[in-house]
């Protein structure tokens, strides 16, 4: 399966809603990560975080481009000219930047979610998606090394770092579970071999992150997922984020920049 024009309309919609969720997750996380540029705890960490922000936005452009091939507007149109209810990101990525502990924990939970998702999508029946997933998965290797290194160090380094990391995990965890809220059309996608069920991805993800969090002396909270993002239900933070994000593009001053 690789030709959008030969795809049934429901399948195109189902595929699109997965890509949209993935693209919106990445573009907003990249935006949040980039809020550290110039403000990180030490120069070297500032530089590394800026690269991660660029990578996430680069991935978003890739997913938006696949979406564009399916008939959606172009990547800039998608990122800059939609309102909060039209976004399909998990709420995890719209939460404010927070402290370095929250940034590291959020990035860690997201990177591993992306890892299991990409590894599954490398076998997707939709060839353009499988090929893109393989490409992005390679870049993700550095992210995993980076966020894991931060988590295992800060988790039990000092009393303060432990306290901050635990608080960050308590806040982020239920929102991170929302990464696995199925985007509309999951049954069809699974039936067509585009992706495995989200529940399966979540199980693989938990199997990866729990041991690392435990090794970092952090306790995974008992919490229900905070879903809704994949249906366009967001926290109040998304509107503020988009006001920042879209400020110049929507100023009416020009069309091209």
């Amino acid at each position: 399966m690789g030709n959008p024009s030969r795809m049934s309309e429901p399948l195109r919609e189902a595929l699109g809603s997965l890509l949209l969720a993935m693209a919106d997750d990445e573009v907003l996380l990249g935006h949040r990560d980039a809020e550290w540029v110039g403000h990180a705890p030490i120069l070297e960490a500032d530089i590394a975080m800026a690269s991660i922000a660029q990578d996430e936005i680069g991935h978003a452009i890739l997913w938006y481009s696949l979406l564009h091939e399916l008939g959606w507007p172009d990547p800039d149109r998608m990122a800059y000219f939609r309102d909060p209810p039209e976004f399909r990101n998990a709420t995890l990525v719209e939460l404010p930047r927070g402290d370095w502990a929250f940034t590291v924990v959020r990035q860690f939970l997201f990177d591993y979610a992306e890892k299991v998702r990409l590894e599954a999508l490398m076998a997707s029946a939709y060839r353009p998606l499988a090929e893109a997933a393989a490409k992005v998965r390679r870049e993700e290797t550095y992210h995993l090394m980076h966020s894991r290194a931060w988590v295992v160090r800060l988790g039990d380094a000092t009393e303060e770092s432990h306290r901050r990391m635990q608080a960050a995990l308590d806040l982020a965890w239920p929102h991170a579970l929302g990464l696995f809220e199925p985007a509309p059309g999951e049954d069809l996608r699974v039936a067509e071999g585009i992706q495995p069920p989200e529940a399966e991805l979540r199980a693989r993800w938990e199997a990866e992150v729990r041991p690392i969090l435990e090794a970092a002396s952090l306790v995974v909270p008992e919490a229900e997922p905070i879903d809704g993002g994949r249906k366009g239900q967001h926290t109040e933070h998304l509107a503020a984020l988009l006001a920042d994000f879209q400020l110049v593009a929507r100023s009416g001053v020009g069309e091209t920049w």
Binding site: E35, Q54, Y80, R153, L154, T158, V248, V253, G254
Partner: protein
């Protein structure tokens, strides 16, 4: 054979008395040092050097490093608002490079004695200087383009000269920085052209930003030669190879046409091309303002320092935590995820 530790100030082992800074032995060493510079050789950290050479370099390189790091702020504040995904990526990469340049420069300065911690403490305590230009505000997106073209343009003119300087670590850092700066100018010019050839509102935005940044760009080269107390020494030891005024002239010659070509103006009634000399004539910036801003009384000095201090304070627990963790694990030898380099 005596050995030197490479990190920081070269400490002879066992410790020796510091070399004399006057008398016949000093004179002989100075002569050798200056002859080496005259031959175009580089000075390396473990070489003998006059204390004044060391002091001037520490002053210049640390100021340069501070300028890169503080310089992340005026542009960085537009990263969240960049108007396309491509511009957002470019701007993150560009501001990231500035951090990278600061990192390289702090390291070059460390080879002369001070630690990065000491230099940063001096900056945050308000005891260190950085380029005045970063104390000016960036009220619109067009300021990002104006900085990219004019400030980065001026910086490259300056840095190409510094890359020829006599101190090895500084010149090496400059080489790599100049290579990356060529991307900065390209992106700045690209953003500038996009606005200058855009809608009337975009053109106006760009014009206003040029008006704001023209004189700060001229200030980037420092005070006029007649007031620059350090210049003769810096030239003699090839810490610099051109004077502030020479560099300023080079900049105007190169960049004024780029602005004028697209029908924008430069806020200087005296600006004109002089066919006899082949150079552009221009008005000097307001030097009283320059000295005021240097002394801390610019439009954004307080804001910039507050942002740096906040980042430093909010990051303290992170730096302390990792240092504590590393100290605990020192005996255990890491976690085994990295390989030991095999020769």
């Amino acid at each position: 054979m005596l050995v030197y530790r490479v990190q920081g100030y070269p400490v002879p082992i066992p410790a020796q008395a510091p070399p004399p800074q006057e008398g016949p032995e000093y004179e002989a060493r100075l002569e050798e040092f200056e002859a080496r510079i005259a031959r175009g050789e580089k000075i390396e950290p473990t070489d003998w050097m006059p204390e004044e050479y060391r002091r001037q370099l520490v002053r210049m390189i640390s100021q340069h490093a501070h300028s890169e790091v503080v310089g992340m702020l005026p542009e960085g504040r537009w990263i969240p608002h960049a108007p396309t995904l491509r511009r957002k990526l470019i701007l993150i990469a560009k501001v990231q490079d500035e951090g990278g340049h600061g990192q390289l420069l702090y390291r070059a300065a460390e080879t002369l004695g001070p630690t990065r911690e000491e230099m940063i403490e001096a900056l945050l305590a308000g005891k260190a200087k950085y380029s005045v230009v970063f104390n000016y505000p960036t009220p619109t997106w067009a300021d990002v383009a104006a900085i990219g073209l004019l400030i980065d343009g001026a910086a490259v003119v300056n840095q190409l000269m510094l890359a020829q300087g006599s101190y090895g670590p500084y010149a090496r850092a400059m080489k790599r920085i100049c290579y990356e700066e060529s991307f900065h100018i390209k992106q700045g010019y690209d953003a500038f052209v996009a606005l200058a050839t855009g809608t009337p509102a975009q053109r106006q935005m760009m014009q206003e930003a040029v008006n704001r940044w023209w004189y700060p760009a001229l200030m980037l080269f420092g005070p006029p030669d007649r007031d620059s107390v350090h210049t003769p020494t810096l030239l003699r030891w090839r810490i610099k190879t051109k004077t502030n005024d020479q560099l300023r002239q080079e900049f105007v010659d190169q960049y004024a046409p780029m602005v004028l070509r697209l029908g924008l103006t430069i806020p200087d009634p005296n600006l004109r091309y002089d066919p006899e000399t082949g150079h552009w004539r221009f008005s000097e910036p307001d030097w009283d303002e320059f000295w005021r801003v240097i002394r801390g009384d610019g439009p954004c000095n307080a804001e910039r320092m507050a942002a740096r201090r906040r980042a430093h304070e909010e990051g303290r627990w992170v730096r302390e935590a990792l240092a504590a963790k590393a100290a605990r694990q020192a005996d255990g030898g890491g976690n085994g995820r990295y390989a030991v380099a095999g020769l």
